[in-house]
């Protein structure tokens, strides 16, 4: 589903990723662990297309699983003539060259990035922000935008599932929220946008034990499906006890140095990266 091949990336001229290769098949959750400065967040930003994160080598291919009944390329035929824009279809099994797409095009294709440090947008409510975002994605896919009433209903449902007061969504995006509230709000956003593939960058940091469980359950509920995938970036093993990744990778100095199952995460927790790498 997500195919990363020999990815090299630099930030401000400094090489951060030095040949990452990784394949996440549909239906799987992969965790990436690694020490500070190993390139975890850079990998997340490169996948989402952040300006300033220059790819010098390698490729990222996103192949949304073909929906039953859809022939390859047929999603292009769903909309009217003018809606048929390359890079928009996501359900027809065609591979998309992510590195050639803008961040918003990747989002429309089904990518979601959960931010380590969610950004404040003063004066813009979550509701307004997410409704415009979702409808922008839907239009790009040739789907009808949701009406105000439909959207509010969806937003309320998703907030409730993450144990968040729906009135919080009337507040400006991430303004005045605690670190934990922001992370939970990121998961509500994910629930509303309902992506195909989520890259979650240290979503567990700043969460207390109860919130960690709620967020872990949220990830399972929203993203555990045969046609979805997750790349979970974390420092700690705790979240993995809830989400239970299919694979665990260790990123060190911009390269995947080890891969294994959840036992790898547990041994890292006990012994630390230096020990585990040895």
């Amino acid at each position: 589903m997500l195919q990363i091949e020999n990815l090299h990336a630099t930030v401000a001229g400094k090489p951060i990723l030095n040949g990452v290769s990784l394949h996440v098949p549909p239906g799987e959750v992969h965790a990436i662990m690694g020490p500070n400065g190993s390139g975890k967040s850079t990998l997340a930003y490169v996948l989402a297309g952040r300006p300033g994160y220059e790819v010098s080598e390698g490729s990222v291919t996103f192949t949304p699983p073909r929906q039953p009944g859809l022939e390859p390329g047929s999603a292009f035929l769903k909309g009217s003539e003018e809606k048929r824009v390359p890079g928009q279809a996501r359900d027809d099994g065609r591979a998309l060259d992510f590195l050639a797409m803008e961040p918003h095009q990747r989002a429309a294709a089904g990518l979601f990035l959960g931010f380590q440090y969610p950004v404040e947008i003063p004066g813009v409510s979550y509701l307004q922000f997410l409704r415009e975002s979702l409808n922008s994605q839907r239009r790009a896919r040739g789907e009808n935008p949701l009406s105000g009433a439909e959207f509010i209903k969806l937003a309320r449902e998703q907030a409730a599932l993450l144990d968040m007061d729906a009135d919080m969504l009337k507040r400006p995006v991430n303004v005045g929220f605690s670190g934990g509230e922001k992370k939970r709000a990121e998961m509500v956003q994910m629930g509303i946008l309902n992506p195909r593939f989520a890259v979650l960058d240290e979503t567990d940091s700043g969460l207390d034990i109860d919130a960690l469980r709620i967020v872990g359950e949220g990830i399972n509920r929203i993203m555990r499906a045969p046609d979805k995938g997750v790349l979970l970036i974390t420092h700690y093993e705790r979240l993995l006890e809830y989400v239970r990744p299919d694979r665990v990778h260790v990123l060190q100095a911009g390269k995947i140095t080890r891969s294994g199952d959840i036992e790898l995460a547990r041994s890292l927790e006990r012994e630390g990266y230096a020990e585990a790498a040895a």
């Binding site: 989402a48 300006p51 961040p103 950004v119 947008i121 004066g123 813009v124 790009a140």
Partner: protein
């Protein structure tokens, strides 16, 4: 679908209205004063309007005073030399050719109309399409039912809402009493020019204790052929009355008259409240700044009576040059003045805008919220005066001035003047300058918004405190307008 219904209704209403003695659209042949400014020009204008002697005298007095005045140069504006003899002062002939249909309209303007969701019939009027109902502008905006019933309703409430030319003829005693009472002729160069040659404008009188039953909008009475070059507006709110007045238009307005100098006077008696909202989108010129409108506006309110309140809200996105300081003279005890402003400049636009709050009465309060947005190579200045006179006890003022920069070639400037002559005053001033951050842009784009939509969203959030002061329908249009005005400003 709704647009279709709106269009049809508007069209029908416009046709009906075309037969009415509406009074706002003059039916005289398109005559005009020759180019240039002289006493003869002033006499010509006055005669065309069948004005009484006292009005002509007032104009002439203004003209003679103007001859002795000089243009102001304290604003942070680069104003090209204006040749006042090379302009028309009355019903300038349209050099803009009539269009046979909307298809002939500049596609860029057409696209803007569509983005704003302006109904087709209205687009035709704005674009000057041959045969478009001239009164349609009166009818189309807001709901049609309002347009057809509003005059009756206002009449039964006792509210006078007329063009100023009509008011001079029909209510000379009121006009005589208040004209120039808030903005004296010699107040400044441009106000003085206006007092000599004002073409038309609006007169509103709300009687004692009356709450005006609807928002009064210039949409209802813009004469499409001769819009706002030298507009003169006079609003009088008698004791305990209330009125909300909307001026302007979100659609881009082209005008061959480059020089605009309007005057707005508001007189608020005891316990009266006036809310004045403006959306200004005059043609700003091309990307290099060629051809835009120079907009020199004097707007002032006198809160004459105790507990009176005047609130200015403005969204300024147009004009090549904006020179404008809607102000409040807080004379009555416990009177309140408010100024909420969004000024957006792009490309080569220049804006020097702000307010003056002059506290004369005891217990007077003022609030200033200014949001400046600069993009391209534009310059955007907030200039504001808060003045507390010696006898004004217990005055409060709160000022907040925020500037948002897009790109690195634009300028934002904040020039506050604070003069306090009474020690009991509480004056607060907050100012911030920020740039739209890469973080915000990327965050919004990662959720599915393209760069332009992301910028529009962030800018609207920045301006929200001001936009929420606008009446609902206006606010929605103003939001779209901010986004459209910034198109092309993100790389």
């Amino acid at each position: 679908m709704i647009d279709d219904i709106r269009n049809r209704e508007a069209h029908e209403a416009a046709e009906k209205l075309a037969d009415y003695e509406w009074g706002f659209v003059s039916d005289v042949e398109q005559e005009f004063a020759p180019k240039g400014l002289s006493e003869d020009t002033v006499r010509f204008i006055s005669a065309k309007k069948n004005e009484p002697e006292w009005m002509l005298d007032w104009r002439l007095k203004g003209y003679r005073a103007w001859l002795e005045m000089e243009e102001v140069d304290w604003a942070k504006l680069d104003i090209p030399e204006i040749d006042y003899q090379d302009a028309y002062y009355y019903a300038a002939p349209k050099t803009k050719p009539k269009l046979a249909s909307l298809d002939e309209l500049d596609p860029e303007i057409r696209r803007t109309y569509e983005k704003l969701g302006i109904p087709i019939e209205e687009q035709k009027v704005l674009a000057g399409v041959e045969g478009a109902a001239r009164v349609a502008v009166d009818a189309v905006f807001d709901s049609v039912s309002v347009a057809t019933t509003f005059r009756e309703e206002l009449k039964s409430a006792g509210v006078i809402f007329l063009s100023i030319s009509e008011a001079i003829r029909e209510h000379p005693e009121l006009v005589k009493q208040y004209l120039g009472s808030v903005v004296p002729q010699r107040d400044n160069y441009f106000a003085c020019l206006n007092s000599a040659v004002f073409s038309d404008g609006t007169f509103v009188y709300v009687p004692e204790g009356v709450r005006c039953p609807m928002e009064l909008s210039t949409y209802f009475r813009i004469n499409a052929e001769n819009t706002g070059q030298f507009e003169r507006t006079l609003i009088v709110a008698d004791k305990g009355s209330y009125v909300s007045y909307l001026e302007g238009c979100t659609a881009p307005m082209r005008d061959e008259n480059q020089l605009h100098a309007a005057v707005v006077e508001i007189f608020a008696h005891e316990d009266a409240e006036v809310k004045y909202s403006t959306v200004q989108n005059w043609y700003p010129g091309d990307a290099e700044g060629k051809g835009g409108i120079f907009n020199f506006v004097t707007k002032r309110a006198l809160c004459s009576g105790a507990r009176s309140k005047v609130s200015w809200t403005q969204v300024e996105t147009g004009s090549a040059i904006t020179w404008k300081y809607p102000s409040c003279i807080l004379k009555g005890d416990d009177s309140v003045g408010e100024f909420y402003s969004v000024a957006l400049t792009n490309n080569r636009q220049q804006a020097d805008t702000g307010t003056k709050m002059v506290h004369i009465g005891a217990g007077t309060r003022s609030t200033i919220v200014s949001k400046g947005i600069s993009a391209g190579r534009s310059n955007n200045t907030y200039r504001g005066l808060v003045k507390v006179l010696p006898r004004a006890e217990n005055v409060r003022n709160f000022t907040q001035c925020d500037s948002l920069l897009l790109g690195s070639e634009c300028g934002a400037h904040t020039v506050p003047y604070i003069e306090v002559k009474n020690p009991t005053a509480t004056i607060e001033h907050e100012a911030t300058t920020s740039k739209i951050s890469e973080d915000q842009l990327f965050y919004a784009m990662s959720r599915g918004l393209d760069a332009e939509a992301a910028v529009a969203l962030i800018v609207n959030g920045f301006a929200r405190e001001v936009l929420k002061q606008l009446p609902m329908e206006f606010a929605v249009e103003a939001q779209k307008l901010l986004g459209i005005s910034l198109e092309g400003s993100v790389g």
